[in-house]
């Protein structure tokens, strides 16, 4: 992949605009940044690896609970929390991947749902650890890099989230731009061809899944640290499904699309929910329906017709 500086600058520009001119939206922007990391991690396995999963929140939630538990019982160092969350996500991905990656298509999809639901039910059962329906709370997040703690307006949280987003974006772009990334894309497009080149497919997919779990776990840890509470919904099917929709809205396969899709979906959800909690479903539903029915070429015509 070519080095593209423009997207980083764009994110920086948008971030700066929000920071200086729309400070009331900082919490929303932090949420978008956190979710964007999660959706990018989904892009690795869906957009690059070609494996549609509806159980990705299991990795996100695991990271969230890990970071929360670490802060509660041991250390509130945020960077340590991120690393712990990432490691937890990668570990769960490795263990479940050994099982689910042997399958493809609908079977794989259903198994990822099953794993996700099993983990969510486990978290609910062991409420002594996780707080169950009430959620895990009572922990605080320490100073970021020893410099600043979260302020009430959410400025520090926003800078923290955006910083982590940019670093994760860079790392993921590098990973997918390597020969490993190329092989994964090849596996996505034609497994038979890759086998004929001598590629060991299962180990590559497992590695990709673990990397995806690593970043999903970091996203979860970030959300735990910023919100200072972790609920069972971080492990839920709804989150997995919404993440897939966000990815598809923005376009899978480039990582930038994941960020755009997350921003679009979350903003619509936020704006529409203020009117009625169900209205965002109209907008997103219509977008999905029209997006599929109207082929790409006609979008271009429509855009030009408006101009």
């Amino acid at each position: 992949m070519r080095i593209r500086v423009a997207p980083y600058l764009l994110i920086g520009l948008v971030g700066a605009t929000i920071y200086f001119f729309f400070p009331a939206q900082l919490p929303l922007a932090s949420r978008i940044a956190t979710l964007a990391i999660f959706v990018m991690s989904l892009d690795l396995i869906v957009g690059h690896g070609g494996l549609a999963t509806l159980g990705h929140s299991a990795l996100y939630g695991t990271g969230a609970y890990t970071a929360g538990l670490l802060a509660l019982h041991s250390s509130s160092n945020p960077l340590l929390g991120l690393l712990a969350g990432g490691a937890a996500g990668a570990t769960v991905a490795a263990l479940s991947g050994l099982f689910v990656l042997r399958y493809q298509g609908l079977t794989f999809l259903m198994l990822t749902i099953a794993v996700g639901q099993i983990i969510q039910n486990l978290a609910s059962k062991f409420r002594a650890w996780t707080g169950g329906d009430d959620g895990l709370s009572g922990f605080t997040t320490g100073k970021i890099l020893g410099l600043a703690t979260f302020d009430l307006q959410g400025r520090v949280a926003f800078l923290y989230c955006t910083g982590v987003l940019l670093i994760c974006l860079w790392m993921m772009r590098r990973l997918m731009g390597s020969t490993f990334g190329l092989a994964c894309i090849g596996i996505h497009q034609n497994r038979l061809r890759m086998a004929a080149l001598g590629t060991e497919i299962q180990p590559k997919l497992l590695t990709l899944y673990c990397l995806s779990g690593w970043f999903a776990g970091i996203a979860g840890a970030l959300s735990a640290q910023v919100n200072q509470i972790v609920g069972l919904d971080t492990l839920g099917f709804e989150l997995s499904a919404e993440a897939l929709v966000m990815l598809v809205l923005g376009g899978a396969g480039s990582l930038f699309g994941a960020i755009a899709g997350t921003a679009l979906f979350t903003t619509i959800h936020h704006v529409a929910s203020n009117i009625d909690p169900y209205h965002w479903l109209f907008v997103i539903g219509a977008m999905l329906v029209c997006g599929v029915l109207i082929p790409r070429e006609r979008w271009g015509v429509l855009m030009r017709a408006r101009a």
Binding site: M110, A114, N121, V245, V248, V289, V292
Partner: protein, 288 residues
């Protein structure tokens, strides 16, 4: 002993409801190869319509139920003919996305038209009374559900195997162009099959209203349950859906009775093991 009997009865009833709702999806997914994640929306539609007919319009239960089922079937046919037809050739992901969007629209519409509250379907006295079977008494509603499930399965299998429509359906699915060249009205076959699946889903929604409450998020909330039955049973296999629905329904009910703080963990654990053992489904009909 009574506990076991209760688990079995409730489990089988629950399984039957799942079967009736899911059989349409199994057929469209397995035979028509169309991924319709909005299937639950038809179950919701059937339930909502029945609730409106019976409660707001004061129709007798049987009329309301039948009317709702027929209307849902017609709605399914209309959607298939007007919209879904264009999606058959598209890649699976597109079908998934479209039908997710469609179910979002259903959810939002349900809220717009009827509000966020649960829609209740009042049972008539003849369904509320217990029926004495000799060995024990059963609520009539449970008996109705089980009988309906068995009837649906018998009729589906009979139609698919022995009727002309069944032959048309299999021919159309195997090779649409050839079937059309032979004079089979393929468009009608698709529309009727889809409509029948939608109608059955609606029936399941009505019968299962107690177990699966009718509220706007219904299509999304119960999507997973339906997909599980279809995947484990084998896409396209009516008998497979029945088997999967009964097994999984009983396990879920048992775990609710016996180990409720584990939630639906055992349901998904069994499901994962069954799928891992038979990735094509328990009774897949032998197609690739």
């Amino acid at each position: 002993m009574t506990l076991l009997a209760n688990i079995l009865i409730d489990g089988i009833a629950y399984g039957m409801v799942l079967f009736i709702i899911s059989v349409g999806l199994s057929v469209t997914l397995g035979l028509m190869r169309f991924v319709n994640l909005a299937h639950g929306a038809f179950a919701m539609t059937g339930g909502y319509l029945a609730s409106w007919f019976i409660r707001a319009q004061d129709w007798p239960f049987a009329f309301g139920a039948v009317g709702a089922v027929v209307l849902t079937g017609l709605l399914g046919m209309a959607i298939e003919a007007l919209v879904l037809r264009r999606l058959y050739r598209m890649p699976e992901l597109q079908q998934v996305l479209f039908t997710i969007g469609l179910s979002f629209l259903f959810v939002a519409s349900a809220n717009l038209l009827a509000g966020p509250e649960v829609q209740l379907i009042p049972l008539p006295p003849w369904l509320k009374d217990p029926i004495d079977l000799g060995i024990r008494t059963l609520p009539a509603q449970r008996l109705l559900v089980v009988l309906t499930g068995l009837l649906v399965m018998m009729i589906s299998v009979l139609i698919m195997k022995y009727s002309r429509f069944g032959i048309w359906l299999r021919a159309t699915v195997d090779n649409t162009q050839a079937a059309s060249a032979l004079g089979i009205p393929v468009e009608w076959v698709y529309a009727l099959t889809f409509g029948a699946g939608a109608a059955l889903a609606g029936l399941g929604g009505i019968l299962g209203a107690e177990l699966l409450p009718l509220e706007p998020y219904y299509p999304i909330k119960y999507l997973v349950l339906v997909l599980v039955v279809v995947a484990v049973g084998g896409m396209g296999s009516v008998a497979g859906s029945m088997l999967a629905a009964l097994v999984l329904g009983t396990i879920d009910t048992a775990s609710k009775y016996l180990a409720s703080d584990w939630g639906s963990l055992f349901y998904f654990l069994v499901m994962a093991l069954l799928l891992a053992w038979r990735p094509q489904g328990l009774l897949s009909p032998g197609r690739t």
